[in-house]
Structure formats: C-alpha cells, structure tokens
Symmetry: C2
Subunit: 197 residues, 2 copies
Amino acid sequence: MARKRSETMQENRVKLIAAARKTFAEKGYAAASMDELTADAGLTRGALYHNFGEKRGLLAAVVDQIDTEMAVRAQEIGARAGDAWQGLLAEGAAYIEMALNPEVQRIVLLDGPAVLGDPSQWPSQNNCLQVTRSTVERLIAQGILKPLDPEAAARLLSGAALNAALWIAASEDPESVMPKAVEAFHALAAGLLAEPL
Amino acid sequence: MARKRSETMQENRVKLIAAARKTFAEKGYAAASMDELTADAGLTRGALYHNFGEKRGLLAAVVDQIDTEMAVRAQEIGARAGDAWQGLLAEGAAYIEMALNPEVQRIVLLDGPAVLGDPSQWPSQNNCLQVTRSTVERLIAQGILKPLDPEAAARLLSGAALNAALWIAASEDPESVMPKAVEAFHALAAGLLAEPL
DNA sequence: CAATTTGATATACGGTTTGTATGTGAAATG
DNA sequence: CATTTCACATACAAACCGTATATCAAATTG
C-alpha cells in the first residue's frame, strides 16, 4: 500500500466528522460517548483528541460543515428568485425548511449555541448570517429596504426564521404549521421595506 | 424547634433553586457540579435527587422561575404603554433588555433549549410566549394587526427579540448596538400592522 | 538504501461526575 | 408512647473526559 500519511489523516477526519454528525444528531452532544463515536468510525479516542483537541472541537467542526452547507443552499435558492426582495423571502423560507432537518436542529440550533456560545462568534464566522447580511445590504443600497443596520436586520430575520423552525418541528402537525410560519415571516420581513406593499 | 416537615422541605427547594440559578449562570449547566452546588446550599445530593429527580429537573425548575419573572415584567411594561400596539413594541424591547442579564441568557436562552428542548414544550408552558401571544391576539381582534396566526406571530417576534439580545450581549459595545437592535425590531414588528404607518 | 526521526493513532490511567441503593433520625400518626 | 413515614445523608457502581505514554508506519537524511 504505502499510503501517504496526510491522506489517511484527512480521511480519518472525514470519518470522525461523519460519525459525529450522526451521533450528535441522534443523541445530542452531551449524551454522545466519544468512545462509541470513534469506534463507529473505526478509530479510537486517540485520533479524535489528536485531530480536534477536545470534544468541543469536534462539535465545532461539525457545526462549521453544516452551517456552510446551509449557507450555500440558501444562497442558491435566493439567487433563483425573481428579484432581490423575493430572494430575501426565499432565503428565509429556505432556512425554515432546512431547520426541520434533525441534524440542523439538534446540532446547529440547540447544542451549538449552548456549547460554543453565540453563533456570531463561531470560528466558522457563521456563513448563514453572512449570506443574509449581504442580501440585506444589497437591498438597502438599492433603497428597497429602510436604511437599517444590516447586521441587526439580518440577525433578527434569521432569529425569527430559525425560531419558527424549532416551533414547527416540535409541533404535532408540521405540515399544517409550516405555511402559517412562512406567512408570518413574510409579514415581518415586509416591515423592513422602505415603501410598504 | 419542632419545625414542620413541609416547611423545611419548601425552604430547601428554594435554597437549591437559588444556588442553581447562581451556579448555572456562572458556569453553565454542563460544567455545574451537583456536589458543589448542593454544598453551597448547605445540603447534599440526596436532597436534590429527592426533590427534583435528576439534574435536568433542577434546571427545569430554575428556568420556570426565571421565565415567570420575565413574563410578569414584560406584561407590566407592556401595560404601562399608551396603547396595545405601543405595548407590543415595549414588550419586545423589554425582552431584549432582560436577555442581557447573564442568568437569562445562559440559563433560559442557551442551556434551556439544549437540555429541555423547544421552549413551547417546557413544563412551565413558557409564560413569556403566552404573554406575547395574548397581546398579539388582542391586536388582531382589534384589527390593528393583520389576521395572522397568533402563535406564529408571537413565536417569530420573540425569536427575533431574544436572538437580538444574544447578539447584543456578545458584541463588544452593547450600549451602542442596543438601539440598532430595537430599531430593527420595531421595523419588523411594523410589518404585522394591517395598515402600514 | 539503511538508520533515524517524526508524528498519527492506540492504549493505559486518574479524576470527576451522575444516578441509585441503602441507611438514619426526626416528624407525623394513632 | 409505639410505630410508621419520609426527607435527607451516605455509600456505591458505572461512565466519561482528558492526558500521558507507548507503538508502529511513513517521512527524512546522509
């Protein structure tokens, strides 16, 4: 064989992150045993602590990966809309839908903030927020939105969307609740418009 | 002496909850040792497990207490405003300010959801949300707000407010960020109005 | 190419924590 | 006053995290 060392190391990192995504989503961060998790990946805790420093480091890596995937997807969906304003609404709806995924919910929305602190200070720089903020900035520059602080507007919008998702997921009949949440989100977002519809 | 048993039991519960509020806020739920915490209250883990079942039970009791205090305060502040609409805005601003309190932030906003799950399913029934929802319901009945689902509107509003607070607290200069957040919140809330300002 | 070094991962260990099972003594009961 | 109850303390077992040490293959060097 004689495989290169950096290769196998990279593969092991991928294996660990994949196993962590699964276990963290299913059991939650606190209840996830690092012995089991590393065994699932065909490794031991030695590899884990060498690569990620501590349990939190693994969570940070997982959060970063999921957050990036979410941001990419939201951006794509937003870009597909007719104009920038429709794009912002579509982004919000996309976040709400994505947050119905158990991985997103448990890892990014619940355990992430509790263990790593406020998302705006995450090492990943929180790509999701960045996407929303740049969309808001563009709309403000075009005069479509009121001249608010972009960061503030983005934080509140994403906060509303992600909180809506938690509510939907916890509800008994998500399918019937979803449209209500999206409708309320649209109404709220319309409050940012410079000229009311 | 001959103190009544139910009395001392009640006092011990109060002591434990008070110690827990302090320790959970300072160290976070996960890092709080129940040995230390109960010793601070002049008791042992025996009292804790007898009264609250498990560590989570103590957190639930603490969350319930803080949540109730917040709801009372928000309601008072809202009632003091000129009309119901101003009351809603004042409630939102009140939540943002209250969430700057480390106890509220660490315990109710970060650890609470991660350990106990979505707030709407908390045993305490989440008094904060109830207050906001009834205010929204009243405004809808009066035709001041669009006929949206009250639960949805309340969830998104409080989500936006509480998320704003996390952002403010994590920022370097909270005093300068606060007004931006409140302004953005007002704008968002205005989107719920039946007749734009 | 052989000898040596490096470093990624496995193994071993100590300390801490949680939850339960059992013990105890004072209040409640009759 | 004898007995029972039960709130709390103590004792115990299991699990887990993080670190310190060991190992063995790949990388490096002369």
